[in-house]
């Protein structure tokens, strides 16, 4: 049974107008439908009759000569041979041939199984070798990575050590700078806190005598520098006194002052007792060896 759609496709097939998927699908339908196949043949006959409808043109005579000359050397395809009628074979021969066929089949199957087993075995061996190669390759890769990481680690450690050394050096320098700055600040502070006093002469006959006293209250020590003070008598000594600030504060002995023949003298002195704040400095002429409390005349007094 052929429907209209199939008939339409058959007409197109007769003109070789089917292409691609449409052609493939129709070829499949034809293979399954002998009636459809016959319809296509029928319509192709009708289509090819259109060759007679082309405007008639006589081929040149030389064309026939050319065609006839060409076929001389051409080979022809041979038709398929018809199937010959089978001969009658005796039964024992059939049995023998059947047995031989069974043996041949069994041998072929066994042989194929053997070949398959060998092939499979070879495949397994090859796969094993391949796995070994892959394992070695992986191991090499890991080793390479390990070496690379070790190298990176060494570089990092070196960088780290350098950084630590630099940090330490910086810290040491910072400490040194800090100590120096602290000392500088301390000195500046000490200097700020030092008391500097000039002592004027109270001697009528040595009015040029003068002295300068510098007192460091933090260290509780000071320096006295004297100029143009006449030497003391043989039984007398000049003695320095620190007079604390505060009403009625008693002078504190600060040691003897030795005078050179040129009238100069220098003494580093400490008070016998701690002094918080000094109001004045004084130098008096006392008995040889000094006195615990001022008894003689004051020759120099800070202003």
């Amino acid at each position: 049974m052929i429907d209209e759609r199939q008939e339409e496709l058959a007409a197109l097939a007769a003109f070789d107008l089917l292409e691609g998927g449409e052609k493939a699908q129709f070829d499949g339908e034809m293979a399954r439908n002998p009636e459809l196949r016959r319809r296509v043949d029928e319509l192709r006959l009708a289509a090819n009759s259109l060759a007679h409808a082309a405007p008639s043109v006589t081929p040149p005579p030389a064309l026939k000569d050319r065609v006839m000359a060409s076929v001389t050397s051409r080979k022809q395809a041979h038709a398929p041979r018809p199937v010959e009628r089978a001969k009658v074979i005796p039964f024992p021969v059939i049995i023998a041939w059947a047995a031989a066929a069974c043996f041949a089949v069994a041998a072929a199957i066994t042989g194929q199984l053997y070949i398959n087993a060998r092939t499979h075995n070879q495949v397994l061996i090859d796969q094993g070798k391949l796995a070994d190669l892959e394992l070695k390759s992986a191991q090499n890769r890991f080793e390479a990575q390990r070496l690379f990481h070790e190298q990176e680690l060494a570089v990092l450690r070196q960088d780290s050590d350098q950084a630590v050394a630099v940090a330490k050096a910086d810290a040491a320098k910072a400490r040194t700078d800090l100590v120096a700055a602290t000392e500088r600040m301390r000195r500046e502070n000490d200097l700020a806190q030092m008391k500097i006093s000039t002592l004027a002469s109270l001697l009528g006959n040595s009015s040029q005598a003068q002295a300068v006293a510098v007192w460091n209250p933090a260290k509780q020590e000071g320096v006295l520098s004297v100029a143009k003070l006449p030497s003391a008598a043989a039984d007398k000594d000049y003695e320095l006194w620190v007079i604390p600030d505060g009403k009625g504060a008693a002078p504190i002995a600060a040691g003897l002052v030795m005078i050179q023949p040129d009238g100069s003298g220098r003494a580093v002195f400490r008070a016998d007792k701690p002094v918080a704040q000094i109001a004045k400095f004084a130098v008096s002429l006392e008995r040889k060896g000094g006195a615990p409390a001022p008894a003689g005349n004051i020759v120099l007094l800070s202003q």
Binding site: L12, L17, N48, L50, V57, L63, A77
Partner: protein, 224 residues
């Protein structure tokens, strides 16, 4: 008097007088009878059978029977006589080489030869660079003949009985079916290209080709 009885299948009733003046006079009074379509196909098939055996005389006979319509078809498709000669040359070589492979049950020898000619011509056409221009020259919408059968006697003699019958059948087709069928056979265009050429939907063109070809099948004697 002796008679030669044709051995061609389907022609056992055809008696050809070989000798005898009386019979010759009798035969001369009979109207000129052309072989029927089936007879023509049978004759062609037997020629191919002889060709398969290496008979070059049979080959020459087939050439004389087929060359005109095959050459005309090739010229009409290609619009180039020189290329058409190449095509016809190749087709006849193929017929010689494959004569033994021809299956009469699948169709006529002429139909087979036309298929070879048309396929080669269309392949050649499609490989040309100036395809569009050539298609306009080679595929006119009208082959140029009218519905009337009053062709000149000379043209009929040149064209042959088969051509007259086929041209009549084609001319009797409705115009749109005629155009579709002619383009389908001669132009080398695809279904879509034919539809675009005629400015019609693809489904309409398919239907026209189907109806036109069915009409031709019914109008033209079997195995022309």
């Amino acid at each position: 008097m002796s008679y030669a009885v044709s051995s061609f299948p389907g022609t056992l009733g055809w008696v050809v007088p070989k000798r005898g003046p009386k019979f010759r006079r009798f035969a001369m009074s009979l109207p000129e009878l052309s072989p029927s379509p089936d007879d023509r196909a049978g004759i062609d098939a037997s020629i191919l059978q002889r060709m398969a055996g290496g008979d070059k005389a049979a080959f020459a006979e087939l050439y004389d029977r087929f060359s005109r319509p095959l050459f005309s078809t090739a010229v009409h498709i290609l619009s180039d006589a020189s290329e058409a000669q190449d095509i016809v040359h190749d087709v006849f070589l193929a017929l010689w080489e494959k004569a033994a492979l021809f299956e009469p049950g699948r169709g006529s020898a002429f139909s087979w030869a036309v298929t070879l000619t048309r396929n080669r011509s269309i392949d050649r056409l499609r490989t040309r660079r100036r395809r569009t221009d050539l298609l306009e020259k080679s595929a006119p919408e009208d082959l140029g003949y009218q519905a009337s059968t009053a062709d000149g006697a000379g043209d009929q003699a040149v064209a042959g009985d088969e051509a007259v019958v086929v041209r009549q059948a084609v001319a009797n087709l409705p115009a749109e079916q005629k155009r579709a069928v002619e383009l389908a056979f001669f132009s080398g265009l695809t279904q879509q290209e034919i539809a675009e050429r005629l400015k019609e939907p693809l489904g309409t063109i398919k239907a026209r080709i189907r109806r036109g070809l069915l009409r031709l099948r019914d109008s033209i004697p079997h195995r022309l």
